[in-house]
């Protein structure tokens, strides 16, 4: 290979391809399928409960996958080098977005149980019916499915190209592939940014079709990104404990992932607070219903839990430097964030079904585990047989000696 196409300074990495994760793929995948089947049974027995549960699970896991694609693209667009050693886990998390094309099918089938705009009842009220008629060109079953497929195809295409080029570089070491990833990483951002925003409008905001908020897409993105970073912290922590990365991933990398978690925890809070403040202070009848339901007696404590658990707790914990540098303790906080992000999505979705107050159905659990385990099994299967770090990336050496 000539010096022009490969990198002369690439470090020699003594690392065998990743062979672990069998239990996740086989055991986890099978368990996931069982949970999915249980959820499908639930859909037959009590369709509204089960489809709502499925929507929560889908938005949660698909949001994380889409945010991972964005995270990967931001890494490329900013020409970041420190993260090269932890890029492979991000690539795999991003690549999991393809499976959501399949996992979307139940939503396409069950949308009439979830969204009132699919077939608005005549007793909805004159004003609401007028508004739904106005929105018909956008909120209609065909458009909903076509758009969802488009969002997922955009995300799948981007993650597939980026991961594909990265894997090819493992073999050939071509420097030009890094350039391609950077170009696509930057150039694709507007597309995926719009995709995740409108996905939030379609899947979640349209649960209450007369309600609207321009920042809703950013809200969904910000929560999903914190969750994606938390998942990354856990995955890299587990990988480090099992020596998957050949000892090349250090406390410095873990520390920086923790810093990003802290920053985006603040960002989520900023967006959530802005939306609440502006709607509360203006007090317009068309905007307040979203919060009136959630301020009601049955839901208020969930909102309070979000303020505490999605901001104060992780914020206070992540301020600690020693915590961020300890993969296990950071993993505990990350686990909490992943849990509280589920509460957030639950809080966005379920009040449309149970305005009177919090209520948990067994399908909430099966759908969460079913979608999650299948997605994780798919993601891990994409890594097996490949290197856990991009072994021939031209900036790998910079990443190894990262010391901010």
């Amino acid at each position: 290979m000539s010096a022009a196409t490969s990198n002369p300074q690439a470090p020699v990495v003594e690392l065998a391809p990743f062979r672990g994760g069998r239990r996740w793929v086989v055991g986890g995948g099978a368990a996931g399928l069982v949970f999915l089947i249980l959820t499908f049974i639930g859909m037959a027995v009590s369709p509204r409960e089960a489809f709502y549960s499925y929507l929560v699970a889908f938005a949660y896991w698909c949001g994380i996958a889409m945010a991972s694609v964005i995270l990967l693209m931001i890494f490329h667009a900013t020409h970041a080098r420190w993260m090269t050693v932890l890029r492979r886990p991000v690539e795999v998390m991003a690549a999991s977005v393809a499976i959501f094309l399949l996992l979307f099918i139940p939503l396409a089938i069950g949308m009439k149980h979830i969204y009132i705009w699919v077939d608005p009842p005549a007793d909805l009220g004159r004003e609401a019916l007028r508004l739904l008629a106005h929105k018909r060109p956008y909120l209609n079953p065909t458009g909903f499915v076509v758009r969802a497929v488009a969002y997922l195809l955009v995300a799948t295409f981007l993650s597939w190209r980026l991961y594909g080029w990265s894997l090819r570089q493992d073999k050939t070491g071509e420097v030009a592939l890094t350039q391609r990833q950077r170009n696509l990483g930057a150039g694709g951002l507007p597309f995926i940014g719009i995709a995740i925003s409108f996905a939030a409008f379609d899947w979640l905001m349209s649960l209450n079709p007369t309600w609207f908020s321009t920042v809703y897409g950013v809200y969904f993105f910000s929560g999903s990104l914190v969750a994606s970073l938390s998942l990354l912290a856990i995955v890299t922590g587990m990988g480090r404990a099992r020596n998957v990365f050949g000892g090349h991933m250090t406390d410095e990398h873990t520390h920086s992932v923790g810093k990003l978690m802290l920053a985006f925890t603040c960002f989520w809070t900023y967006i959530a607070f802005s939306q609440l403040l502006l709607i509360w202070i203006a007090g317009l009848p068309e905007e307040t219903p979203f919060y009136i339901t959630r301020f009601g007696a049955g839901w208020a404590w969930v909102g309070a839990l979000l303020i505490f658990g999605h901001f104060f707790l992780p914020f206070a914990a992540l301020l600690s430097r020693s915590l961020k540098r300890n993969p296990f303790r950071l993993g505990v906080v990350a686990g909490w964030i992943l849990l509280i992000h589920y509460v957030d999505i639950f809080w966005l979705v379920m009040p449309s079904l149970h305005p009177e107050g919090f209520s948990l159905h067994w399908t909430n659990v099966t759908a969460f585990l079913g979608v999650g385990l299948v997605a994780i099994a798919f993601a891990v299967s994409r890594l097996r047989g490949r290197f856990a770090i991009p072994v021939k990336d031209p900036y790998l050496a910079d990443s190894f000696r990262y010391r901010p």
Binding site: W82, Q179, S213, T214, C266, S274, Q275
Partner: protein, 466 residues
Amino acid sequence: MAAPNLSHDPLGELPLIEGTQTDQTINDSLLTHVLRGAGKGWWMLFGCALSMLGLLVIAISWTLYKGIGVWGNNIPVGWAFGIINFVWWIGIGHAGTLISAILLLFQQKWRTSINRFAEAMTLFAVICALLFPLLHTGRPWFAAYWLMPYPSVQRIWPQFKSPLTWDVFAVSTYFTISLLFWFLGLVPDLAALRETTKSKTKRFIYGLFAMGWRGSGRHWAEYKWAYLLLAGLSTPLVLSVHTIVSFDFATSVIPGWHTTIFPPYFVAGAVFSGFAMVMTWMIPARHFLGLKHVVTMKHLENMNKIMLVTGMMVGYGYLMEHFIAWYSGNPYEMGQFFLTRWHGPMRWIFRTMMFCNVVVPQIFWLKRFRTSIPVMWVAAILINVGMWCERFNIVVTSLHRDFLPSSWKDYAPTWVDLSLFIGTIGLFSTLFLLFLKFVPAVALTEVKELRHELAEHDVVAGETHA
């Protein structure tokens, strides 16, 4: 992160410091423009700036003498140039804060050569901005009572639910922290000037402001901590200031003002316009002050990329506003976004805004344009224009056509409005030219530190820096 030289980087990224430099050459080249006397060009520019400043004095005097009735404001356009210019100037300050705080926390080495410059612009822009609300109170000598937080002492209770009150807190905090940050960064450089200058008077003055800096190890250790802490404190300010400025509008119920995306969209717009202003001044300054070896094409390219990103965010804001205006089914929202803005009497301002803020930055997708000095300079100026139009569009266009056609009224600025605006550009330019004359425009010690870091980086990478 950064590539020390061209040959070192596998993808040929441009260097952050050009040529073979030592501490001595950096010292000499970055202090020259302060130590040498003012040239003809400087005096010419200073004369222009002073004459615009004179216009400001006239306009302020006339406003104070006659009252704000000499402005073009009317009912319903109760807020016009005063607020447009306030928001525009405050926004311009944001590049400095982003560079000094966020880019520091993100360990971006390329911030080093441009932070001093941008932070100074922050301070001067905030001074220009503060003039407008102060004058808008009509009797600024009373404004101290109204705006200062002494409710129980003065027996005047500010409306704490009003974002205008929050603005006072936000902007004054912003100014204070930015000033401290800027001054802290200056201290070692002032000491360098104290040691270098030949004039006794100058040595005394620089020595006074250097506050006894001797460059001992302990000084540096504490300096570093203070710098990091101030960066941490400034980071929320990057978001909070323009967020609260956006609340001035978004907490109301006016179509075009009340929308939940305003906070992040205002912040993105502020950084966008701030970088455009930095580019507008940086491109000539690096040429005339001989700073091309430390403010390299790499810096300019990165700033262009930031303009592209923030411009796309602003474009995203426009898209969301338009989509939700339609989606809401609210006739007033639809009227504002699809009739008034695109086709109303102020349509040319709106269309100029769309062109300058959405279309123009797209050229920065291409490396050819990102690295072309004339192209980026023209683009930066257009973005300044576009962001001013955005504020005009938000303030005037939304107000002059609200709910009832019977309350609609057109708006035109008076000569006083225009003079105040041009006058603040004069004030900004005057302060900025004085800054370039009396302190180093590039953070000297930080560039030297960066040079050492990059050299060390090369040794670690197995190459010695030629």
